[in-house]
Symmetry: C2
Subunit: 406 residues, 2 copies
């Protein structure tokens, strides 16, 4: 028919046309018009590939290649259809596209599987329209409920529920599925690791835990020229000593630990006045919860000591926390063997960003596979992965599903 894409390259451009922008960016936020059109188009493509389609009550879209066995469990594969504002063409999209293409291939070549194979296009993962992330997988895994969207509005004041209803979905009882046996996500890395180590596939050991803090340091404003160094309560001097030590402590941890100060505000922020207040954020991540907790305790304690030494007040507030999620070892071994026997290079690594897979990991064997991101760039119109790299990802996914379901 020519209506639907016939290869990965075409499929990426086709899906990116829903919410596509002049600079190559894509904006497809939850329940928006481009979002609706993208889900409807994907539904059409799934049906064209011979899959049984349906939406759940919040807008997750499914395409099923059923087993003939009535009590068969389901292997779910897929990713999210929503994007950040001015995001790229690959984030989320690739996982859905690869899922549909894998099932199309397997159906044509091997017919019906012994275990149901199902591709999902999650309605939402990014948290880019409403201040809530992982909505699609959160509801599917029973970890979220409708309570989580009460009182949530977008930047234009539209409530979550109003937007959902406008897109044709209603706040009805959500039925958590019991048949999901395995979840597999294929995603771009969104970081530079695979490119740096020159490997084709990232096999994810864990999605890191995150702790985010807001630190407020208070001292006293004074005239720069007339206040001797020894009488100052310089909030920035204190904050700089804290951040300096944050990185020193990080150096002593293992190389899975990442930490960063991304935001910092000074007051009054005038060249000839000693700052009386500094507010800064600390983002710390590690795949092991106890390592992460110990790191955060160490730097918090060091911050308190610096504040005491310089007669400053300090307030440390943790405003965001995500537990690490361990990917399934057995699944990863299967994938590693597939790569080895197909002479596809791989790298075992952690995911520093969050993904739908982190919620499925709590309820069933789950893993996530990465393909390289050029320059590590993501959440940008410059996001790019070559067709060859995408094809390698699809090839591995097909082999996994063949091995698990036939």
């Amino acid at each position: 028919m020519g209506q639907f894409p016939i290869n990965i390259e075409e499929a990426i451009e086709w899906l990116a046309s829903f919410g596509g922008e002049l600079d190559g960016g894509v904006t497809r936020t939850l329940y928006s018009q481009p979002w609706k059109e993208a889900q409807q188009a994907l539904k059409g493509w799934m049906e064209d590939a011979g899959l049984l389609t349906n939406y759940d009550s919040i807008g997750n879209l499914f395409g099923r290649l059923p087993s003939p066995h009535p009590n068969a469990k389901t292997i779910l594969i897929g990713s999210h259809v929503d994007t950040v504002k001015s995001g790229g063409k690959y984030d989320g999209a690739f996982g859905i596209i690869a899922g549909i293409m894998a099932l199309d291939f397997l159906k044509k070549k091997y017919g019906q599987p012994a275990i149901n194979l199902e591709v999902v296009s999650f309605c939402e993962e990014e948290g880019s329209r409403f201040p809530l992330a992982l909505w699609g997988s959160g509801m599917m895994t029973g970890l979220y409920s409708y309570k989580d969207i009460v009182d949530i509005k977008d930047s234009e004041g539209i409530s979550f529920e109003t937007a959902m209803m406008a897109a044709g979905f209603v706040n009805s009882e959500y039925r958590v599925r019991k048949d999901i046996q395995t979840f597999i996500e294929l995603h771009i890395e969104q970081g530079p690791t695979l490119e740096k180590v020159e490997k084709s596939i990232g096999i994810v050991k864990a999605i890191v835990g995150q702790k985010r803090f807001r630190i407020t340091v208070k001292g006293e404003s004074n005239h720069v020229g007339t206040t001797s160094m020894k009488w100052r309560r310089d909030a920035l001097h204190g904050a700089v000593n804290m951040i300096h030590d944050l990185y020193e402590i990080a150096k002593k941890s293992d190389e899975d630990l990442v930490t960063s100060v991304g935001q910092l505000f000074l007051e009054p922020n005038v060249p000839n006045v000693i700052p009386n207040q500094v507010q800064f954020t600390v983002d710390a991540r590690h795949p092991n919860e106890s390592v992460l907790r110990s790191f955060c305790q160490q730097f918090s304690q060091q911050f308190q000591e610096h504040a005491k030494k310089k007669d400053l007040n300090i307030h440390v507030e943790m405003w965001h926390e995500v537990q690490p999620a361990q990917m399934d070892n057995k699944l990863n071994e299967i994938i590693q063997n597939i790569c080895t026997s197909s002479a596809i290079s791989f790298y075992r690594m952690n995911s520093g960003a969050g993904h739908d897979a982190q919620l499925f990991a709590r309820v069933c064997p789950t893993t996530i596979l990465f393909v390289p991101s050029q320059g590590g760039i993501s959440h940008s119109p410059l996001e790019y992965t070559s067709t060859k790299e995408l094809e390698t990802g699809l090839e591995v996914l097909i082999q996994i599903l063949h091995q698990l379901a036939y």
Copy 2:
């Protein structure tokens, strides 16, 4: 008559009423209506005290107690009548008030001096309306000229010259006076030193030199979670190491050195993105030019090394520079002896802020005396010095002038 103040306390409140605000602050910027009214009122008070008054062509106001000798030189005393926006009642004002009251007292008690005594109310020092400071003393000392005000406008787009003409002064040839033999300024300290050391009079050794820098550090933005610490070009990490070392190097200098980072901007300043740019200011001051220059060279070199180590780009720009001004040793000895014999406690110190005296120091023997500032607070409605402390300052000034001019 009751029209003019009869003591210091009254005089401070009286002068503060021109441009006075509800919260006790004073806004009296150059050539504004409150400025004109204040100068006119001061002229009236000077005349009431028997002084010969005149304005120069830019609006500096003089009140003269003449010597009978036709070729006598002049000892000039005074300070500036302009204020910062929402400034205090004492900054500048006290030096003028004390000058008028000293001359009034000396005239009544001792009659005509051997050397002319003259009080000046400088039109401008703060740079708070136009981006040019020390206008009054700059013209008087011949260090400034009308060229310095070409193309200068205030925040409302009014040119310097237009404002000057509207206040009744014209851009005519400025005649630099040749008769000024000595300049003495009495001023509030604007810092906490006298209060901390519990002394009544600060005898200023030097007004510090200043160098102000703007440092731009450039790295690369990346996702906090997906970029290993070893692959980052984190502009803030680099900047923090630089600022940390700035303070360490300062510690190794003598205690006259002050330095501060008052302003800092991060980009993109988002919690989960590694900063790609940090821009910050460094303000460094010391009474000795070579010590100051050496300090600045040291930290600049250290900054370059940090940038190199972390593969960051750095640009160091010096955007403001003031040479140190040495106060006159002989004058200071006279003042010290006066304090000692009158049992008035004093402290020899530097001035970390700029003053009209720093320009006079280049053309004639000059000094500046401080009285304490409560809590070191200045440029604020909370600026305060007790009447007793002001009276001590006036008493010392009277004794100096008596000793020098009679």
